[in-house]
Amino acid sequence: MRASTDQVWDWLDAVPDPEIPVISVVDLGIVRDVQWQGDMLQVTVTPTYSGCPATSVISMDIETALRDHGIDNLRIKTSIAPAWTTDWLSDKGRAKLEAYGIAPPQPAGGPKRCPHCGSTAVEKVSQFGSTPCKAHWRCTDCLEPFDYFKCI
């Protein structure tokens, strides 16, 4: 008996992002669609940043996880349109990011508060951070640097 797509979504929600392992690939919003085409399961993923080295690892991790759940006939389809946006991060994912010390994206273009001490006195160090999806900020109250998951 083939697994329901809801079941597959649950399985995928247990696959961590390779760079930010507190959130899943589903939280990140890069799994766009799961559907059976006859006997074949097709999972559509969209890359975050076009040069992000994590993208190919994510596809491999998804494939490995689904094979572990007994799905042998599957295809990972990459789709670049519509382009990935941080609006697709789940609320659960945003909360986990902040608890992990990464400020979640805000429409205003900067973090709402320091993920360490909660202060709103923060300033940008650089538009670029430790991975393509993050910018580098610091808190002028607790003086700790932190990553901000930038809006795109």
Binding site: P47, G51, A83, S126, P132
Partner: protein, 252 residues
């Protein structure tokens, strides 16, 4: 020239610009003046190489089923279609950032137009890339202002960089038969039509940076049509393509 031949040339121009600039910027990895700049440059290079995979991937499809890697690693200098600006050596950090700014400004305007391309594959790549390029432009623009309106030394170096690079700007707005065909098909704009918007953006930033734009409109050309690259491209390729040349078909 058939429509497909022109389309291929257009895609090579887009992909070779990002490939060659991406490689140049990657040369800073590990040796930039401060850690934050090293990270910013590496991320910029990574975005550009990612965009290259999309442009050259599509070019390869048009060109009889080649891969983006085939096009990146197995062509020689005369087959590259990047503008000369992106192949000039990095020199100091100031010139690297000035080159980045002059390119980012064009790139962001060009991608903005390509989002409305009649070819949906081109529009999709442009939509994805333009989000990344918005950050490149913000960063390079801020840095050009910081260094231009900085110390006496940094100002002098930025003015020198602008004087050196300005003659390479004009080529981004040159037009030929390839462009005419792309315009007729609704795929891409006339490069010359982007110039007014470009000048307004660049003048605003360079004025804030207290830098003076050279008056001459003389332009070095020969990159985007492959007629005559600078000597620097061949040297860059010997490094970038070395592994595939020495060990054809090598994978890891």
């Amino acid at each position: 020239m058939t429509r497909d031949e022109a389309f291929l040339q257009f895609l090579l121009r887009m992909g070779d610009n990002t490939l060659i600039l991406g490689h140049r910027v990657s040369e800073w990895c590990g040796v930039a003046p401060v850690l934050e700049e090293d990270i910013a440059l590496a991320n910029t290079a990574l975005d550009l190489i990612g965009q290259t995979q999309m442009w050259l991937g599509l070019a390869g499809e048009i060109d009889g089923g080649k891969s983006a890697d085939d096009l990146a690693f197995l062509r020689d200098a005369w087959d590259f279609r990047n503008v000369l600006l992106v192949e000039v050596p990095n020199a100091d950090f100031g010139r690297t950032l000035m080159r980045q700014f002059l390119f980012d400004a064009w790139h962001s305007i060009m991608l903005g137009r390509l989002i409305k391309s009649s070819d949906e594959r081109v529009a999709a790549i442009a939509a994805k890339a333009s989000k990344e390029v918005a950050y490149h432009l913000e960063r390079s623009g801020d840095t050009v202002v910081g260094l231009g309106d900085g110390t006496e030394e940094s100002h002098a170096r930025m003015q020198e960089a602008l004087d050196y690079l300005w003659p390479y700007v004009g080529e981004m707005f040159a037009s030929d038969d390839v462009d005419a065909q792309m315009v007729a098909a609704g795929i891409a704009p006339y490069p010359a039509d982007l110039r007014a918007e470009y000048d307004a953006l660049v003048e605003r930033v360079l004025n804030t940076a207290t830098l003076t734009i050279p008056e001459s409109r003389f332009a070095h050309k020969g990159g985007r049509d492959g007629r005559m690259h600078t000597e620097h491209l061949g040297h860059l390729l010997t490094q970038m393509q070395w592994l595939q040349r020495a060990y054809p078909g090598a994978k890891w």
